[in-house]
């Protein structure tokens, strides 16, 4: 398996946030984690990125244990998190934000190529390259966040709630972008509470409830599961 | 409610902290032969036998007289007082080499008990309390400057005779009720010498600009104005005041220069401020003479080429041909090139002679005798009382000849010492 979170348990302060969760992401796949607010979805991504430490369990990347590594070393291996709330550098121009995404890369040519790629993907960013990131609209900021993540040349891109606060039209666009990224061979781990968006792009999904996986399977199976519909789709 | 356990532990610790030293204090109190009642004026110094480890066999037989010293060894005033500590120790050594303090046929070896005044009134209070209450001393030298504000009440209350190095003219430091307060150097006389020297070596000077540190200046102001008048000069403009704690003295220098005076007179301050202003004045192209209390080598070292046209007072150097014998001897006891303020040492020197003149170790007796004396030897030559009217005390403040030097182009030229005017 490409990336594997094995029986991970995470505590925030002293309270249990993620309890014995196992998640697998195949190479080149799109996997989603859905669940209500506070179910522990973001915590899983933060643990994967190395922002919080595990209480128990392992994280494997191509069979290698990475749960003790610094965030930077995980980024170097290609695990990149586009965090919730975007976490941009608001007082730096768009272009610098993008270049900072490539902090660990040394190949000038490769960086230039990536830059071209993200500008192709998001032409709006090219127009606003000199503008401070904080002055962008919500949708543009989300694009910038994704673009910045792509600048690191990721192998697994983790997206945390990319649809939050976006107009429906833009949400559609985010879905398209995720598919496009995936087409390039980048695996995607998507955390969403917009189940529609998530299940629309993912091949496989996990449903999280209070820190535990309560359901997993193909996107289609989840969509039609009675229990999930009741709890999360307002059925 | 879980708190109780640690509260108990804490309390036990605190009790230990309080009780152990208290017991130690009691023990000490029993050791000393004198009682602690401060009213008992007959209580002399603690005549304990000299330390057995003393290597000097000649002094081993002498009894010891402990004299307290308060100097600020830490914080900002240590720029002045750290040097004083070394010199006062040399003076004590000098006195001991001469056979100590002789009272009623007995010789007492001087042993200094130096306390740190921490450059603050709080620190000086603590130091004075330590000397008076803990060491039960009856004679104290110091502190210098305005720190006497804190110490004088303690000494008065405990009838401890104290000789301040110099003071800030605050009535709380010395007034008609502070009968145990003596002053090693009346600071006004020092400045009278500065003006006299200025007039002597720069006869063309008609007016002087007065620049001073602001805090102590108000007390000195009338006296300084009188001095200027008495010397036959006038003040150029109003006095220029500055704060001690500033980085850049160039604005002050610019202000002084704008008055366009014949000479600049800086009576109160500490070295860094003097140097800063002189440096500023000289870079601004001011050519006139400047007078302030200096240590010649320090000035040359710190100012380099700017050290020119300076009329210095109080510089004590071995190569000064006019130097008084005791001062020369003091200089030769250590590195003769060192920076000597010579104020605390002088106070100790005065005290020694006053005690010998009174032939008693009772501070009250010494005081009574001292009030009748009109001449005492100082490190600078013969001393004389000054400011009897000002302080309302007979012969409590003393003055002495003041060393003078001229510094031009980084070269020091020593001049005959000047006898200052007596302050009324």
């Amino acid at each position: 398996m490409f990336v594997e979170l094995k029986n991970i348990t995470v505590h925030y302060h002293k309270s249990l946030a993620v309890d014995d969760v196992t998640i697998e992401v195949p190479e080149g796949g799109v996997v989603t984690i859905i669940g209500a607010n506070g179910a522990g979805k973001s915590t899983i991504l933060r643990a994967l990125a190395g922002l919080v430490s595990l209480t128990r369990g392992q994280i494997l990347f191509q069979g290698e244990r990475i749960d003790r590594l610094e965030t930077a070393d995980r980024v170097r291996r290609g695990i990149v998190l586009v965090p919730e709330g975007r976490q941009l550098f608001p007082y730096l121009p768009v272009i610098t934000n993008l270049r900072l995404g490539a902090t660990l890369r040394r190949d000038r040519a490769g960086i230039a190529e990536s830059l071209e790629y993200v500008f192709d993907l998001f032409p709006r960013l090219k127009e606003r390259a000199k503008q401070d990131a904080g002055t962008l609209s919500g949708g543009e900021q989300q694009m910038l966040a994704i673009a910045r993540g792509l600048m690191a040349n990721p192998r697994l891109l983790c997206l945390d709630e990319p649809s939050v606060g976006l107009a429906p039209i833009i949400v559609e666009l985010v879905g398209d972008v995720i598919r496009e990224i995936n087409r390039k061979g980048i695996s995607v781990l998507l955390v969403e509470q917009n189940a529609h968006l998530a299940l629309g792009v993912a091949q496989r999904g996990y449903v999280l409830e209070v820190g535990r996986v309560v359901f997993q399977g193909d996107a289609e199976a989840i969509r039609c599961s009675e229990m999930v519909r009741k709890a999360y789709l307002g059925g | 409610m879980k708190k109780t356990a640690w509260v108990s532990v804490l309390m036990v610790l605190m009790i230990l902290l309080a009780v152990v030293p208290a017991l130690a204090g009691c023990g000490k109190a029993e050791e000393t032969t004198t009682t602690s009642a401060p009213t008992q004026t007959t209580a002399g110094p603690t005549p304990t036998t000299a330390a057995p480890s003393s290597t000097e066999t000649t002094t081993a037989q002498m009894e010891t007289l402990q004299i307290g010293v308060i100097l600020s060894l830490t914080d900002w005033f240590s720029v002045v007082d750290a040097a004083e500590k070394m010199d006062i120790e040399y003076v004590a050594q000098m006195i001991n080499e001469d056979g100590g303090i002789k009272v009623q046929g007995k010789s007492y070896k001087v042993e200094l008990v130096i306390e740190d005044g921490k450059s603050s009134l709080d620190g000086n209070t603590a130091a004075a309390n330590k000397l008076v209450l803990d060491k039960k001393l009856k004679f104290v030298v110091g502190p210098g400057a305005f720190f006497n504000l804190a110490t004088t009440p303690i000494f008065e209350q405990n009838k401890v005779l104290h000789v301040a190095n110099y003071n800030g003219l605050n009535p709380a430091e010395m007034n008609k009720d502070t009968r145990y307060a003596f002053l090693g150097l009346d600071p006004i006389t020092q400045q009278s010498a500065a003006l006299k020297a200025l007039k002597l070596y720069y006869p063309n000077v008609k007016n002087v600009a007065l620049a001073s540190e602001d805090a102590t200046f108000p007390a000195f102001e009338p006296h300084f104005r009188a001095l200027v008048e008495r010397t036959g000069l006038t003040l150029a403009g109003e006095p220029i005041l500055y704060a001690t704690q500033a980085e850049d003295y160039n604005p002050i220098a610019a202000k002084i220069k704008a008055l366009n005076p014949d000479a600049v007179w800086m009576p109160i301050g500490i070295d860094p401020t003097y140097f800063g202003i002189v440096k500023g004045l000289r870079t601004l192209g001011y050519q006139g003479p400047i007078t302030f209390p200096v240590d010649a080598p320090s000035v040359v070292g710190a100012l380099g080429d700017s050290a020119t046209g300076i009329v210095g007072i109080l510089s004590k150097q071995v190569e000064d041909p006019y130097i008084a014998a005791p001062m020369k001897r003091l200089l030769l006891m250590g590195d003769p090139k060192r920076h000597v303020f010579g104020l605390a040492p002088n106070a100790l020197y005065l005290l020694k002679h006053a005690i010998e003149a009174a032939d008693s170790l009772d501070p009250t007796v010494v005081r009574d005798k001292w009030e009748t004396l009109t001449s005492l030897p100082t490190l600078y030559g013969d001393g004389f009382p000054s400011g009897n009217q000002l302080y309302g005390l007979p012969n409590h403040a003393w003055a002495h000849p003041i060393p003078v030097c001229l510094i031009n182009d980084g070269k020091v030229e020593y001049k005959p010492w000047i006898l200052p005017d007596v302050t009324p």
């Binding site: - | 532990v9 804490l10 902290l17 009780v19 208290a22 009134l121 209070t125 209350q157 605050n170």
Partner: protein, 347 residues
């Protein structure tokens, strides 16, 4: 603040009254050992002058009493979430409000001391009003400059304040130091009692609530501004009182004692002792003021190295201060004890 609400007794009681009563009784009995130790300490300190009368230790202890109160009053302000770097200035306001009338108008110390305390309280409360807008680091820095301004004003005050040299000739209260000892000791006991009462009553709860979340506090009706002002006024009252008494004891008021340096050391006393516990300031003063005076007196100029070393040791090994560490230890012990109990009960 009128009290209009009657207790509504019609509410259904789900918890039997006896259970509540039991809890209270238990608390009381557990407090006894602590109280007796405290009483013992008070007794020892009250009798000490018999042994050390006229000794230097008396001065140190008087100073200790002063600083225990001042450091505690800083902590009282801090429990409302205000890191006030102007406590020295309030002390200074108290001191000068007492010293100036005493020196220039020859008022009796019995008038000037309350005057100093009241002046510090009023100035503190008035200044707290605009500062209640500031929070966290902005508050700390704002008060830092406030202290700086007060000291600068004193320093620029001309002859009235004696400028940076200080104002000498403040009339003494007593001629005998023993009286000062008892005065300082008594004031410390009263002040600490007041502060204890404040902290462990509903007022203290309000202040702590604000410190944790002013928004949540507001949502249950705890006003942020008024409680913060109250905390500052309360703290500056004791700081001002002690400043006033201290300047009469010393005979001088000097800006040096109230400046940034002095304030930072007061804060250090609290941090070393433990900012989160009532007895922290007292322990901190003991650690940084009393211990060096008693055990390292001969170091003189090297003394700062000792205090620096103490600070470093505390910072590295005891993030919560000395009392914090003791508390953690006793907590762990008692928890282990309790856990044993519980597991014994478990089926």
């Amino acid at each position: 603040m009128s009290d209009m609400t009657e207790i509504d007794t019609t509410d259904i009681r789900l918890v039997p009254e006896s259970a509540v009563g039991q809890e209270v009784a238990q608390t009381k009995s557990r407090r006894w050992p602590g109280l007796s130790v405290l009483g013992g300490l008070v007794l020892v300190l009250a009798l000490l002058p018999l042994g050390i009368s006229g000794s230097y230790y008396m001065h140190v202890l008087i100073l200790t009493f002063f600083y225990v109160v001042i450091a505690s009053s800083w902590r009282v302000v801090s429990i409302s979430g205000q890191f006030n770097i102007a406590i020295g200035a309030f002390m200074g306001i108290g001191a000068y409000a007492a010293a100036i009338p005493s020196v220039w108008l020859h008022w009796s110390p019995w008038v000037t001391i309350p005057l100093g305390a009241v002046a510090a309280t009023i100035v503190g409360a008035l200044l707290a009003y605009p500062f209640a807008r500031l929070r966290t680091i902005y508050y700390a820095m704002g008060t830092l400059f406030l202290g700086y301004v007060v000291i600068n004003l004193i320093t620029a005050g001309g002859k009235t304040t004696g400028m940076s040299t200080g104002l000498g000739g403040v009339e003494p209260l007593f001629s005998d130091r023993t009286y000062y000892y008892y005065l300082a000791f008594g004031l410390m006991l009263v002040s600490l009692a007041c502060m204890y009462r404040l902290e462990f009553s509903r007022i203290g709860v309000r202040m702590k609530a604000i410190a944790q979340s002013h928004q949540v506090a507001a949502s249950v009706g705890i006003g942020e501004r008024r409680n913060r002002i109250l905390a500052v006024a309360f703290g500056s009252f004791f700081a001002g009182l002690m400043g006033a008494v201290y300047c009469h004891y010393q005979g001088v008021a000097s800006p040096n004692s109230y400046g940034l340096g002095a304030t930072l050391w007061i804060i250090m006393y609290v941090l070393v002792g433990g900012i989160n516990s009532f007895w922290g300031p007292a322990v901190g003063v003991g650690m940084l003021l009393v211990i060096p005076e008693f055990f390292f007196r001969d170091l003189k100029g090297n003394l700062p190295y000792v205090t620096a070393a103490i600070l470093l040791i505390i910072a590295f090994t005891m993030p919560e201060g000395i009392v914090g560490l003791l508390k953690a230890i006793t907590d762990r012990v008692s928890r282990r004890f309790r856990r044993g109990e519980v597991s014994g009960d478990a089926p």
